[in-house]
Symmetry: C2
C-alpha cells in the first residue's frame, strides 16, 4: 500500500520510490493525546506537522481569555504557526489536539535542506502555500461580507465531518459567533 504521505504529495508532483524515501527521511513520527499541545504562545515553532490521524485546532486567546480559532486540522492537513515557523519569531497562537493524534513532522532545518536540494518539493510546498493563502483570502472575504448564518452554512458544506468531530463551542469560536447564536443557526 502506498504511504499516505506519498499519496498526498503525488496529488501535486510525482515521485520515484527513491525520491519518496529521501523525502520521508526528513520526517519524524509523533503521537499526541487529546488536549496535548503542539505549539504554545511565545515559543519559536521548529516543526511543521502533517496529520496522519486525529483532529487539531490552532487558536489565539484575546485579552479577556476568549478563544478564537484560526484553523482546524484533520487527516492529510498541514498545520503549524506559519509566521513563527517561517520567520523563526515567537508564536502568537496555540495548537492543540481535539482528538488523539498521529502526526509526521519536519523540522525547520530539514525543510530548508529538502526544498533547497529538491525542486519538486519546493514546488509541492509552493503550491500548498498558495492554496493556504487562497483559503485565508476567502476567510477574510467571508468575515467581511457574510452573516454568521451564511458562514455557518459554508463551513457545513465545506467540511461536513467537522460537525461530527468538533464540539459546538469550537465551531462558534471559529465562526466568531456566540454559542447561543450558533444554537439558533443549528435549529
Amino acid at each position: 500500500m502506498m504511504h499516505p504521505l506519498r499519496k498526498h504529495i503525488e496529488e501535486i508532483i510525482s515521485l520515484t520510490d527513491e525520491e519518496f524515501e529521501f523525502v520521508l527521511g526528513h520526517f519524524e513520527k509523533i503521537s499526541k493525546r487529546r488536549h496535548q499541545y503542539l505549539v504554545q504562545e511565545g515559543e519559536i515553532v521548529k516543526r511543521e506537522y502533517w496529520v496522519l490521524s486525529g483532529c487539531l485546532k490552532s487558536y489565539f486567546l484575546d485579552e479577556t481569555g476568549k478563544e478564537h480559532i484560526l484553523q482546524f486540522g484533520m487527516e492529510n492537513w498541514w498545520i503549524t504557526d506559519y509566521e513563527s515557523f517561517v520567520k523563526q519569531v515567537p508564536s502568537k497562537i496555540y495548537i492543540d489536539c481535539i482528538e488523539d493524534c498521529d502526526l509526521l513532522y519536519i523540522n525547520f532545518e530539514n525543510r530548508e535542506k529538502l526544498t533547497a536540494s529538491m525542486h519538486k518539493m519546493e514546488r509541492f510546498w509552493a503550491k500548498k502555500s498558495k492554496m493556504g493563502r487562497i483559503a485565508l483570502q476567502n476567510r477574510i472575504l467571508s468575515l467581511l461580507k457574510n452573516s454568521s448564518k451564511v458562514r455557518y452554512q459554508l463551513l457545513l458544506e465545506q467540511y461536513p465531518s467537522l460537525f461530527q468531530r468538533v464540539p459546538k463551542k469550537m465551531i462558534a469560536a471559529y465562526l466568531g459567533v456566540s454559542r447561543e447564536t450558533l444554537s439558533r443557526l443549528n435549529d
Copy 2:
C-alpha cells in the same frame, strides 16, 4: 543601475546577469491610468502584476454594493487575484488603480514555465507566497481580536505612506469601519 525587479528578487535569491535577463524575458510592461481596471469580477485572471510605480487596490462588492478592500498595492508589491490566477477560476474581486500605474506582469503560462525550469524562481515565489499567507493570517487575527481603533493604529504604523496616498474612505473600507468611525479615530 540595477533593474528594480532584480533588486526586489535579489532580496530573497541571487541571480546572475544571464539569469535575470531570462527571468525578465517572461514579463511585459503595461501602464494604466487612475480608475482603470486590472481585474474585474467574473473574469479568469491571466496575469500576476508587480508594481513599478503607482498605487492600486483589490476589493469586492457585497450585495448592497458596499466596497470591502482586501489589499492595497504600491511600488515593489505583487498583486493579482490569487484564487483566480492559481486555480484559473472566475474572480470574485476587482483590482483598480488609485493612481496612474506602471506595472510589469507575467502571464499564467510564463509563470508556470519559469518556475518549472528555474528552481530559484520557484523558491522566490514560494517565499513570497508564504509571506502573503502570514500577512493574511495576521489580518484575520486582527479582525477577530482587535477593535477598529487598534486596527487603525497598526495600519498607520505598518504603512504610514498609505495615509498620504489613499483617501480616507478607502482606509475605512480596508479596516471594515464606517467613514464616521474613522474620522473619530483620526482626531
